[in-house]
């Protein structure tokens, strides 16, 4: 187990900076998720922690020890790759035992550890098979077992579920979380899927354009986004935005008026679909653009001036298209962002 500290760690390729210097302290035994859209720098960050990419600026420490210049083999990390990176010419047992073989662990010890790791991920019946004979989920387990067998200080998982189908992804997600809890290991997990991030993480680091947007627990990030990017990225459906103007402590925009708010000038109102309540006396109004039943709820897409917003309603609610609906928000459920800078103002 290791505590991982990034001190102003950055990455550049010549004049092109892909990752601005970032500071991050990952506690021993923490499950940290690096989240962000494609090209945001999350995989680069993970590869720098693994030692697969050189660190351009800053210092990386494991338990206080500077490992910035260390070769990957000397860092005591284990990594699960997006496409599993299983050795196709080796059986499952040989794949799992590869790190031990490289470390010249005696054959009897090795066998015992391979079997123990295989048991943890339910792979015992498949030890003599080759990766090509396994399903996607089983390959994923082999990759996990290969990581487990080393008892590494840090586990790195680079979008490990993205090649699995939706159902298997949900099942593996739970298994990974259970594994991390039961072993108490430090785990750093890269994903672009915000549901994965929310369900797995102790803390989420949300990145965009090579810069940290927000670091916090899933609840903090969901309830108190620091800027428009975070607010729009987290949540399904994403947060609703209505641009307007604030003066004398009230906000007005298309379909909304007299909403108390801090700040003044051009602001963007943000609210979540599930925080809305239909009410004839509501301060918000719009016309029904589309109705989207999902089984557990019905989402109404409402046109408010140039904006379309989502409302989460009762699962049997089916308004006619074009009907005008009014709704309201509870106290503290309206968030305000400066339209120009995107930063939260209240």
């Amino acid at each position: 187990m290791s505590r991982v500290t990034l001190e102003a760690v950055g990455k550049s390729y010549g004049a092109l900076t892909v990752l601005k210097p970032l500071d991050l302290d990952i506690a021993d035994g923490e499950f940290l998720v690096l989240l962000g859209p494609s090209g945001c720098g999350k995989s680069t960050t993970m590869r720098m922690i693994a030692g697969l990419e050189a660190i351009s600026t800053g210092t990386l420490r494991f338990d206080g020890r500077d490992v910035t210049q260390l070769h990957p083999r000397d860092r005591n990390v284990a990594m699960v790759f997006q496409n599993y990176a299983l050795y196709p010419h080796m059986t499952v047992a040989d794949n799992i035992g590869y790190p031990l073989k490289v470390a010249r662990v005696a054959k009897a010890d090795r066998q015992a550890q391979i079997e123990a790791a295989a048991r943890k991920v339910d792979l015992t019946p498949y030890l003599s098979r080759y990766p090509r004979d396994l399903s996607g989920g089983q390959r994923q387990r082999v990759a996990l077992a290969r990581a487990l067998v080393r008892s590494p200080g840090v586990f790195l998982l680079d979008e490990p579920l993205s090649n699995l189908d939706a159902k298997l992804r949900v099942a593996m997600r739970a298994e990974i979380k259970h594994l991390q809890r039961s072993l108490g290991v430090t785990m750093i997990y890269v994903t672009h899927d915000q549901i994965e991030a929310m369900t797995l993480a102790d803390r989420v680091v949300l990145l965009n354009d090579g810069r940290i947007q927000q670091v916090g627990t899933p609840d903090e990030i969901y309830d108190n986004p620091e800027n428009l990017f975070v607010a729009g990225f987290i949540g399904s459906p994403p947060m609703n935005f209505v641009e307007g103007a604030a003066a004398d402590g009230t906000f007005a925009g298309p379909g909304v008026a007299d909403l108390p708010c801090p700040g003044a000038g051009r602001l963007t109102l943000g609210f979540r679909a599930e925080d809305t309540t239909l009410s004839d006396s509501g301060r918000f109004s719009g016309t029904v653009y589309e109705v989207e039943p999902t089984g557990e709820a019905t989402y109404i897409v409402l046109q408010m001036g140039p904006h379309r917003v989502n409302l989460r309603c009762d699962k049997r609610f089916r308004p006619d298209l074009g009907t005008t609906l009014r709704f309201d928000l509870g106290a503290g459920q309206a968030l305000f962002f400066d339209t120009a800078s995107g930063q939260r103002v209240g």
Binding site: A50, G51, L52, H71, P72, R73, R75, V77, A78, M79, F81, N83, A85, L86, Y87, P88, H89, Y98, P99, V102, A103, R146, R150, L156
Partner: protein, 282 residues
């Protein structure tokens, strides 16, 4: 089955029978010559084997001939050493070119390949001068097996390098990275990941370079005289000013053909896999 399909299959069958005959008849003829006595040979030419007149005396004469034995040994040593050395060096070069950022790597690759395009005869005179001129005491590269092995490496390496480059490129880089994270050094990655996965390609490289060295005549006849002479140059020695010993010549030719045919048969499966490696891994 309708008549059209049947006749089309028959035509295909006949075509391949004809193609096989075209390839195999000269070999069959050579075999007939090698198992006939000198008297029979010029008596009544026939494509049929007369078992009662068949004789192995040409083979016995050739195999008991110390000169032939030496030529055969030389050929085996030179071709095998060349194949092993070339495959090994080409794998190392291909790995370096595929995985590491080397300055001017594209130009280097082009330069290596274009070097191979010059006709080998162009290099004959300079090589002769070099082989005879470069001396350590009494020893020179001229008429040595090591001289031939090194020379064949020069001519085989570009091709082997080109072949293996595509194969190493097709091995996902994540496998190297996974191995590094698993604690492997670069050498361990090469030996435990790259080498086993490149095996079909190495088999192709090995056999093709082996066949090249086995069949090579021009340099072997010019740069050797007595000690390092190979079997291909030895074949020519059966044509003398006093006549040609056709029976023994054909026996030697059959014996020369045998190892190449055997090696090809053994690695045929790998050759197909090796040549399509990049395509299927893509």
């Amino acid at each position: 089955m309708n008549r059209g399909i049947l006749s089309s299959r028959l035509l295909t069958f006949l075509f391949w029978i004809a193609m096989s005959a075209l390839t195999l008849l000269p070999v069959w003829w050579m075999f007939l010559v090698s198992v006939r006595t000198r008297a029979d040979l010029f008596g009544k030419p026939s494509f049929l084997l007369d078992l009662s007149a068949m004789t192995w005396e040409n083979y016995a004469a050739v195999l008991s001939n110390p000169t032939f034995q030496k030529y055969m040994t030389n050929s085996l040593i030179v071709a095998t050493s060349n194949a092993v050395l070339v495959s090994m060096l080409a794998l190392l070069a291909a790995y370096a070119m595929s995985r590491f950022a080397l300055a001017g790597k594209d130009n280097l690759f082009f330069w290596v390949l274009t070097n191979r395009m010059a006709p080998p005869a162009v290099f004959l005179l300079p090589l002769f001068l070099m082989f005879t001129g470069f001396r350590i005491g009494d020893w020179s590269l001229f008429d040595t097996r090591i001289g031939l092995i090194l020379l064949y490496c020069v001519f085989n390496l570009p091709f082997a390098f080109w072949l293996l480059q595509g194969i190493v490129d097709a091995i996902p880089r994540e496998l190297d990275e996974a191995a590094y994270v698993d604690g492997a050094s670069t050498f361990t990655v090469l030996m435990t990941v790259i080498f086993p996965l490149a095996r079909p390609g190495l088999a192709v490289t090995g056999i093709l370079t082996w066949v090249f060295a086995w069949n090579e005549y021009l340099f072997a006849s010019t740069l050797t005289s007595v000690d390092a002479r190979t079997i291909t140059t030895g074949l020519a020695e059966f044509v003398t000013v006093t006549g040609t010993n056709w029976g023994e010549l054909a026996a030697v030719a059959m014996l020369t053909l045998a190892p190449a045919a055997l090696v090809l048969a053994l690695v045929q499966r790998h050759i197909v896999a090796g040549l399509t490696f990049g395509a299927v891994k893509g």
